[in-house]
């Protein structure tokens, strides 16, 4: 029973983290390797606003999300737009940006383990006979809500449909008058906001440290690869797969294998089926 409950919690956390990355790649085929850095930046921004400047917690969260979104859009507008289309250059440029941000934060003084965010609600409750703390329950609820809102947004609203159009076929979208660069800008902005959202939801569970940025990037890549680069629902499903796989490994195999599971998942998926679970099957594009 605890495997079920905590499996769901772990999976939704992974899905939240990966959705930003999946969104950006799905729409504009930009691997945003600065994702982890934006996650950490959002955390520190919230901390600075909420703790240091003493602004209302909810307001600082929203401000941090907005600022991170703008930061992501700026990264696109001034950096990535110049290397658009060259996959490896995009990876290197965005990774270098992420590195600069993370190490810059460390240089600025954000070191040590005392940077934390307060959880939304204290206390715990019994769910199906398993004790769960309120904050984790909230994460699950909000996470599920985010997935739902994202689905509705991309299927009902005009901008969302435009984004989906871009993801399906860039040429056709261009012919219909959808501006590719502007859509990519929006995608980066939204992706960064999602990264910030997952940061403010998940960081209160522990503390904010710069190393977390690197871990988050690996997890996001793992989930997106397994789910198929470019498919949002694939990312969610893959999050559940990896999340449950990790929990089951901990319970039955031994906790020290959980990191290996995530990385092996990436390698095995890429060897067997590079487009992942739900990726668009472009056979010739992915393997010879």
């Amino acid at each position: 029973m605890d495997i079920l409950v905590y499996g769901i919690i772990n999976s939704i956390s992974l899905a939240l983290v990966a959705l930003g990355f999946a969104l950006v790649y799905g729409i504009s085929r930009l691997p945003n390797f600065a994702h982890g850095a934006l996650y950490v930046v959002a955390g520190f921004l919230t901390w600075s606003l909420a703790r240091a400047a003493g602004i209302n917690y909810l307001l600082s969260m929203l401000c941090a999300m907005l600022l991170t979104g703008i930061m992501g859009a700026m990264i696109y507008r001034f950096l990535l737009i110049r290397v658009r289309g060259m996959a490896i250059s995009e990876i290197i440029a965005s990774y270098a940006m992420g590195l600069a941000i993370l190490e810059g934060l460390r240089w600025w003084g954000f070191k040590g383990m005392t940077y934390t965010l307060p959880p939304f609600v204290e206390g715990s409750i019994m769910v199906l006979g398993v004790p769960v703390d309120y904050h984790r329950l909230l994460v699950v609820v909000i996470g599920a809500g985010v997935v739902l809102v994202l689905w509705l947004f991309t299927h009902q609203s005009r901008i969302g449909l435009a984004l989906r159009g871009m993801a399906q076929d860039e040429r056709a979208a261009l012919m219909l008058g959808i501006d590719s660069d502007f859509m990519a800008l929006l995608a980066m902005g939204f992706g960064s906001m999602l990264a910030a959202l997952s940061a403010v939801l998940l960081l209160p569970l522990g503390n904010i440290v710069v190393e977390e940025g690197y871990n988050i990037l690996i997890l996001a890549i793992a989930v997106c690869i397994v789910g198929g680069l470019g498919s949002w629902m694939g990312a969610v499903l893959a999050a559940f797969l990896i999340g449950f796989a990790q929990i089951i490994t901990v319970v039955y195999l031994g906790s020290h294998f959980q990191m290996v599971v995530a990385i092996l998942a990436i390698i095995i998926t890429l060897i067997l089926k590079p487009s992942g679970l739900f990726g668009k099957q472009k056979e010739l594009e992915e393997r010879v």
């Binding site: 959880p119 703390d133 871990n215």
Partner: protein, 425 residues
């Protein structure tokens, strides 16, 4: 334009750093260079940096070190090794040690490298360049002083003034656990450790010994560095009705573990053999008090307030005044002692010659911040004890009502261990 701005910032930073690096010299004479390879962006790096700098400032203000009649000041050269960062190879740390020795002409190496891997690898370098080194923080592995003992002639340059895992386990953790067991009638132990050599070895030994002493060891969970979810482990502990959870992790995710422990109200006492998140004074505020009742081991006394020796509180208050924060981490008091111990050894030897200083260090016998400081002549490890008058004393403290209260060893305890209220039912 952008490049010019970047260069200006860099230049100003360099100037600022230079200004900080200049110690206040009240003594004349060529300075004795102390090379400190430390991971300055991490707790176990800056705790050593601050301890060493404080001691050096005090020594220089009092006149410096008497080397065969001439008074010379200490000069601290700190260099960032980044060796506590996960993605950085240990060869970086070794390069820094070499830079300090070959370029900065360090006379002695002090402080690090901090990561056990790097420190072990650096031993060969130190023996090659014949530089005396005193490790003052990090490096918990017993392999360090075991290697010195096995090959004295090669590794005699390496000294360690901070505690290590073997004594911590046998001399402090086990007796403390037994004491808790007797006091509160507990005997069910659950172990959660990080997947690093010293934690794994320590956890295995603790499990074996506690089982022999009649305790029920309910399980051992090993977590790779970077794990951010401990739910299954905590639930297992709860299900098996564990009464004490032994934690041995130095990664920042320990705060996730403790927060969840508090929220789920697991009826077990979190006993930290090493639990880095809880060692900083800022821990209480950072977790809004959820870290209460957590025990942490800070390896050397003086890192939490107590009255081990007359020097302890003097150091504690001097540190707090100088850096604006109480000692944090477990390398502070030992890093503070190292320059003083070295000063005494140099004055005894009358010169900076490594062989002479080594012999003089082996004769060290002073009442320091955390007890009587003596090195084992064969392994160059500081001799530990439970009594400050006999040897170097460790410290286990518990967070109670926002304060770090030293609870073990009895000889320096400032308070009693308390159980969380939800356990008392």
């Amino acid at each position: 334009m952008k490049l010019a701005k970047l260069l200006t910032v860099a230049f100003l930073t360099a100037v600022a750093l230079f200004a900080f690096c200049f110690p206040a010299t009240a003594a004349s004479g060529k300075p004795i260079v102390l090379g400190c390879p430390l991971s300055t962006a991490f707790l176990y790096g800056w705790d050593a940096e601050r301890g060493i700098k404080l001691a050096v400032e005090e020594i220089n203000a009092a006149g410096g070190v008497d080397v065969g009649g001439q008074k010379r000041p200490f000069k601290v050269e700190v260099m960032d090794t980044r060796d506590l960062e996960p993605g950085v190879p240990v060869s970086e740390a070794l390069l820094v040690v070499e830079k300090l020795i070959l370029e900065k002409n360090a006379d002695f190496i002090m402080g690090g490298p901090v990561r056990s891997e790097a420190a072990l690898a650096a031993m060969d370098l130190l023996s090659k360049y014949k530089k005396v080194s005193i490790v003052t923080t990090g490096v918990l592995t017993p392999k360090y002083h075991a290697r010195v003992g096995k090959n004295y002639d090669k590794y005699k340059y390496c000294f360690r003034i901070t505690g290590e895992a073997k004594w911590m386990v046998g001399g402090e953790i086990i007796p403390c656990l037994l004491g808790i067991g007797k006091k509160f009638n507990l005997n069910r132990l659950f172990i959660m450790i990080q997947d690093v050599a010293h934690a794994r070895a320590g956890g295995k030994i603790i499990a074996k010994i506690m089982a022999k002493k009649g305790w029920n060891v309910l399980g051992q969970e090993i977590y790779p560095t970077g794990t951010s979810d401990f739910s299954m482990g905590l639930l297992k502990a709860r299900r098996k009705k564990a009464q004490v959870i032994l934690i041995w992790m130095d990664m920042p995710q320990t705060s996730i573990l403790l927060k969840q422990w508090y929220d789920l109200k697991i009826p077990a006492l979190p006993f930290g053999s090493i639990i880095s998140a809880a060692e900083q004074p800022g821990f209480w505020k950072a977790t809004e008090g959820k870290g209460e009742y957590c025990l942490a081991n800070v390896v050397n006394a003086g890192n939490a307030p107590c009255e081990a020796t007359p020097w302890t509180m003097k150091f504690y208050n001097a540190y707090t005044k100088r850096w604006g924060i109480e000692p944090e981490g477990y390398g502070t008091s030992s890093s503070y002692m190292a320059p003083y111990v070295l000063k005494a050894a140099i004055e005894r030897a009358g010169s900076l010659d490594p062989e002479a200083v080594i012999k003089a260090l082996e004769q060290t016998d002073m009442m320091g911040v955390y007890g009587r400081i003596r090195f084992d002549p064969k392994t160059h490890q500081v001799i530990p004890s439970l009594y400050p008058k006999k040897g170097a004393v460790g410290t286990i403290f518990q967070w109670q009502a926002g304060k770090r209260v030293v609870v073990f060893p009895k000889s320096i305890a400032m308070g009693e261990i308390k159980l969380p209220p939800w356990m008392m039912k």
